[in-house]
């Protein structure tokens, strides 16, 4: 086993354990902290794949900004004492787990068998390609994907206005 395989197993195991912890802790704060662990492990996986820009953005945006939002809301609503009891649905739990196992089997089947016949498998020799740099991503963003990039800024603007409207109205009505 070389270093890359060991690191893959390490990061993969940590991210899977973190993901399972997210859905099994009863207290939302613990779930949020497990999610941070998962995000960091995934940033490590992105580094292994040579995607340095994505790894940095993963840490800054997901583990930084989004998780702060989550923790802020959890603490603002003070959910600790309120919703711990009966946090996991009883009736459909077994059904959901069976469905999940089926979905996992499907996903593994697709990952191992189906992709062999497609263009992705045909391009295997490119695995030794040099790392894609931030320069490559920026060049693509501002040439081929310029329109989606601008639309993204519109989405963020719409989200901003939407949040302000939502929060403002509910504080004025005070129902």
């Amino acid at each position: 086993m070389n270093a890359e395989q060991i690191l893959f197993i390490l990061f993969g195991a940590v991210s899977l354990i973190g993901a399972v912890a997210v859905i099994s802790f009863r207290h939302p704060i613990y779930s949020a902290l497990s999610l941070v662990v998962t995000f960091f492990a995934q940033a490590g996986l992105f580094l292994l794949l040579g995607a340095h820009f994505v790894a940095a953005v993963q840490v800054i945006v997901y583990a930084g900004a989004i998780m702060v939002l989550f923790l802020f809301v959890i603490m603002l609503l003070n959910l600790g004492t309120l919703s711990v009891k009966g946090a996991i649905g009883g009736k459909l739990k077994g059904f959901a787990i069976i469905l999940g196992i089926l979905l996992a089997i499907e996903g593994i089947y697709i990952a191992t068998n189906v992709l062999n016949n497609t263009a992705i498998a045909a391009a295997q020799p490119a695995t030794a390609a040099p790392n894609t740099t931030t320069y490559d991503i920026g060049e693509l963003l501002f040439s081929k994907y310029l329109l989606p990039f601008e639309v993204t800024s519109l989405i963020l603007l719409a989200a901003l206005i939407g949040v302000i409207v939502l929060v403002k109205r509910s504080s004025n009505d005070s129902i």
């Binding site: 395989q5 893959f8 991210s15 899977l16 993901a19 997210v22 859905i23 779930s31 949020a32 998962t38 995000f39 995934q42 996986l45 992105f46 040579g50 995607a51 994505v54 953005v57 993963q58 997901y62 900004a65 989004i66 939002l69 989550f70 809301v73 603002l76 609503l77 309120l82 996991i88 649905g89 739990k93 059904f95 787990i97 469905l99 999940g100 196992i101 979905l103 996992a104 996903g107 593994i108 697709i110 990952a111 191992t112 992709l115 992705i120 490119a126 695995t127 390609a129 894609t132 490559d136 693509l140 963003l141 993204t152 989405i155 989200a159 949040v163 939502l166 929060v167 509910s170 129902i175």
Partner: protein
């Protein structure tokens, strides 16, 4: 590492997110599980981008992250205002729209 192992890991993470959405009742944890699923998709994007030797997959990861950030902001605002009206965020109890 080969592409397949990354895709299998991505499938397992996605499945964990799906099970979480189905099993949990707390709306905030359901949101976290949606983030898990988006991250699993991101992992598949980056792995395939590496395998093809080009940066397009990483550009899509960028878009996914922007949409996820917007979604989280809106979703948490909705959760906060639901909590103000109903004093709960259990999805079982917020059922006024049920036909």
């Amino acid at each position: 590492m080969e592409l397949q192992y990354y895709l299998i890991l991505s499938a397992l993470l996605f499945t964990t997110g799906v099970i979480g959405v189905l099993v949990r009742r707390n709306a905030i944890i359901i949101f976290m599980c949606i983030e898990l699923m988006l991250n699993a998709a991101n992992l598949a994007f980056v792995a395939i981008s590496r395998s093809l030797g080009e940066a397009t997959g990483q550009v899509f990861v960028f878009f996914v992250m922007a949409v996820a950030a917007a979604e989280v902001a809106i979703g948490l605002a909705i959760i906060v205002s639901v909590f103000k009206h109903r004093e709960t965020i259990n999805v079982d109890e917020v059922n006024s729209l049920k036909g």
